[in-house]
């Protein structure tokens, strides 16, 4: 649609700036035609695809190798990889999408999936030619699926879990818990015992509530869910209050470090975090971070199932999350070729052998079994963990709705307020609910 020219603009000034303003406004209004950038094809049938991802240099190297392997088999396709770090990645993606200049293949996160998909920026992969999801574990597709379309293809399975440092347990003389039967009370008691035995040199556990996943698990254990399938907030103020009361229980039992410490740890880089520096015996973490965390800690770490209300692992609310997704821009000029490349990344053994489990455990079961022997010990352990909990999972957890990507920052803020004693659990819970609802559109 056409933009209204602001009535406030003074005619003379506007005339002077006509060229610049007109082209800018035209394009902002998204009707400036297809500018397409350099993702075009040329007369000789050669096609260039732009492919963007975030991540460290290890990921960049592996992905680049996969690209080269693909290009060898497809001499008519050139894939330009664009890499970058997390926060800049999203600024750049938003800017390029706004300018109608988005890359063809986009590494997507759950947080922003619906943000882009609901506004028509992403292609429905169900309609894409050349993409096969037959070998995928059924549950793993759900996370990228809504409104009858598939907008993000799971690129690696992840599950929220507790990571434990057996060396610290041993030093403290505390036995490792049985994670298939432990309850929140067990968890609190064991963590408090660890803190006591460590006598200031460390603490039992990091706090839940430094991101939204622990709250989601808590809600799922109590018959609710953070998000609903139709894109609303699904957790009640009562359950958020109960969750924060549990957090305070941990604080009062000295199972978790001081408020300052927890707050500092929230935004610490993985290597600088208390788990990596050996200050914590347990922490909350995504399962695919095990390898990186083990390396950072210099110790062999172990994944544990999260505690539940009644000590039943199959009722602890766990679910498979897409660690990240493959999406295709809806404005790509080469949907078919882009889909074929995504198909290669997801279903081809050659690609699997290059990429391994760097983005999480492959959702394609054939690829998963093919690469398992090649994995580093920690990656193999997280793959096994994912496999083990498979039988205990509940329903898939719906992706956050538009505006839901903000929830992590919001819960961090309220957790800080509660831990510092600046807000009571019920007040923080209400504040949390109101604010999240305010963000949803």
């Amino acid at each position: 649609m056409r933009p209204h020219i602001p009535p406030t603009a003074r005619p003379r000034l506007r005339a002077l700036a006509a060229v610049a303003v007109a082209s800018t406004l035209l394009a902002v209004s998204a009707c400036g035609g297809d500018s397409g950038g350099n993702s075009g094809g040329s007369a000789d049938g050669k096609i260039t695809l732009r492919f963007t991802w975030w991540g460290g240099d290890t990921r960049t190297k592996m992905t680049q190798q996969a690209i080269e392997a693909y290009q060898k088999d497809h001499p008519n396709v050139t894939i330009k990889g664009e890499f970058g770090e997390w926060s800049g990645y999203w600024d750049k993606l938003a800017t390029t999408v706004a300018a109608n200049d988005a890359p063809d293949i986009i590494q997507m996160d759950e947080k922003y999936l619906r943000e882009y998909a609901d506004r028509g920026a992403l292609l429905d992969l169900k309609k894409a030619e050349g993409l096969d999801t037959g070998k995928f574990e059924e549950d793993t597709l759900k996370a990228g699926e809504f409104d009858g379309g598939l907008y993000g293809l799971n690129a690696g399975i992840n599950s929220f879990a507790i990571v434990a440092n057996p060396a610290i347990f041993k030093a403290a003389g505390v036995a490792m818990p049985d994670d298939t039967t432990w309850t929140w009370d067990d968890y609190t008691r064991i963590a408090a015992e660890l803190s006591t035995k460590l006598a200031g040199k460390g603490w039992g556990t990091g706090a839940p509530g430094t991101n939204e996943a622990a709250l989601n698990l808590w809600a799922r254990q109590h018959g609710e869910s953070l998000w609903t399938q139709d894109g609303k907030l699904g957790v009640s103020a009562g359950q958020v209050t109960a969750f924060y009361q549990q957090v305070l229980k941990l604080r009062d039992a000295k199972a978790i470090p001081s408020a300052e410490f927890v707050s500092q740890d929230m935004n610490a880089a993985l290597d600088q975090s208390a788990m990596a520096t050996g200050k914590l015996a347990m922490s909350w973490m995504w399962s695919n971070q095990l390898n990186a965390m083990s390396k950072a800690a210099g110790k062999e770490l172990k994944l544990l199932r999260v505690p539940s209300v009644e000590g039943k692992a199959d009722a602890n609310g766990s679910y498979y999350k897409g660690s990240m997704f493959w999406s295709i821009s809806s404005r790509s000029k080469h949907e078919k070729e882009a889909a074929e490349f995504v198909n290669f990344l997801a279903n081809n053994t050659t690609a699997g052998n290059i990429l391994l489990a760097e983005r999480g455990v492959p959702p394609n079961t054939e690829i998963r079994s093919a690469i398992t022997p090649k994995l580093q010990p920690a990656d193999a352990a997280s793959a096994k963990f994912i496999q083990d909990i498979g039988k205990e999972l509940g329903d898939p957890s719906p992706a956050p709705p538009v505006g839901g990507g903000q929830v992590e920052k919001i819960i961090q803020r309220y957790t800080t307020e509660v831990l510092f004693g600046r807000q009571t659990p019920d007040k923080a819970a209400q504040g949390f609910i109101d604010e999240v609802n305010g963000e949803l559109k």
Binding site: A20, S23, T24, L25, A27, V28, G32, S35, G37, N38, R50, W54, G55, G56, D57, T58, R59, T60, K61, Q64, K80, G81, E82, F83, G84, E85, W86, S87, G88, D91, K92, A94, T95, T96, A98, A99, D101, P103, A269, L270, D271, Q272, A276, T277, G278, W286, N288, Q289, N291, A292, K295, A296, G298
Partner: protein, 294 residues
């Protein structure tokens, strides 16, 4: 030369004793050295970290290194899709264009604002100041659209052309302030000698504002070298990436990061700007005091 406007006396007299005069340099040195040490601690920590194996960086509380782990430099240099040399050269190209652009275009605009009388001067000056005040985050999208319509994405043009057109109003303002510190009598003298506006600008103003030009060079160099956001947005092909964009590719907040390589390459990328500062600062002291005009 400005004697006719000056009168009055200076009343204060030095009362410092002779002993103090001897000790004073020593005290100043000690104070400066102590301050320098405190200020440099984080920098030293960074250099030390670049010489440690990646996984020891955060676990080792001491600042002393036992053995030099230069591996980080070798690995970091080749860790991304291009050797680090590439990013250094790209940054150098952008910096060169930016410095040149700012020096020429900003000094011209500043001369007009500081010395010439023209219609609409106040308005233009206010607009110039206004253009510094809008946060980049809301203009970046329209600007990106503008440059992408021009087909300039993934070239250095969106980074350099604005500098050639004096959009860094900060420096225009800086130079205006400096030119206004130069006595007008000098312009007059040159005019009597037959210089036109251009002649005065080239022969009187420019030589006298060397400190301001040096400041502009140093700042443009450093700020462009460090500028992350616009370089990130406009450069898409890794072959075109500049140093700050490449540096962040070592870090992933949620997964494995190569801190050793990151710190090593950070140290490497600090060297050019540190050298630029070392060289540039020598021109800072070539003020009026040393250009023969007293």
């Amino acid at each position: 030369m400005t004697t006719e406007t000056m009168r009055g006396t200076v009343a204060a007299r030095s009362t410092a004793g002779i002993g103090w005069t001897r000790i004073r340099p020593l005290v100043i040195h000690l104070a400066l050295a102590a301050a320098a040490l405190v200020m440099l601690y984080p920098v030293i920590w960074m250099v030390v970290s670049s010489l440690r194996p990646g996984n020891e960086i955060f676990r080792e509380p001491s600042i002393l290194v036992r053995d030099l782990h230069i591996e980080n430099y070798r690995v970091g240099w080749n860790a991304l899709t291009e050797p680090f040399t590439r990013y250094l050269l790209n940054s150098a190209a952008v910096v060169f264009g930016s410095v040149l652009g700012n020096l020429v275009s900003c000094s011209m605009a500043a001369y007009a604002f500081a010395r010439l009388e023209f219609t609409g001067k106040k308005l233009w000056f206010a607009i110039m100041l206004l253009s510094i005040m809008l946060p980049i985050h809301v203009v970046i999208v329209p600007q990106y659209i503008l440059f992408s319509q021009a087909g300039w994405i993934n070239t250095f043009l969106p980074l350099v052309v604005p500098k050639l057109l004096a959009t860094d109003a900060f420096f225009v303002f800086l130079m205006v302030q400096f030119i206004r510190g130069i006595p007008r009598e000098l312009d007059e003298a040159a005019r009597i000698d037959g210089c036109g506006r251009g002649g005065i600008f080239l022969r009187v103003i420019l030589p006298l504002m060397v400190p301001a030009l040096a400041t502009t060079t140093i700042f443009t160099f450093i700020w462009t070298w460090n500028d992350f956001f616009s370089q990130l947005i406009y450069l898409t092909d890794p072959k075109m990436y500049t140093v700050p964009v490449a540096l962040r590719a070592f870090v992933d907040a949620t997964a494995e990061s190569s801190w050793g390589s990151m710190f090593a390459m950070s140290v490497v990328s600090l060297l050019p700007i540190f050298l630029a500062f070392l060289l540039g600062q020598r021109f800072l002291i070539k003020g009026i005091a040393t250009t023969g005009i007293k």
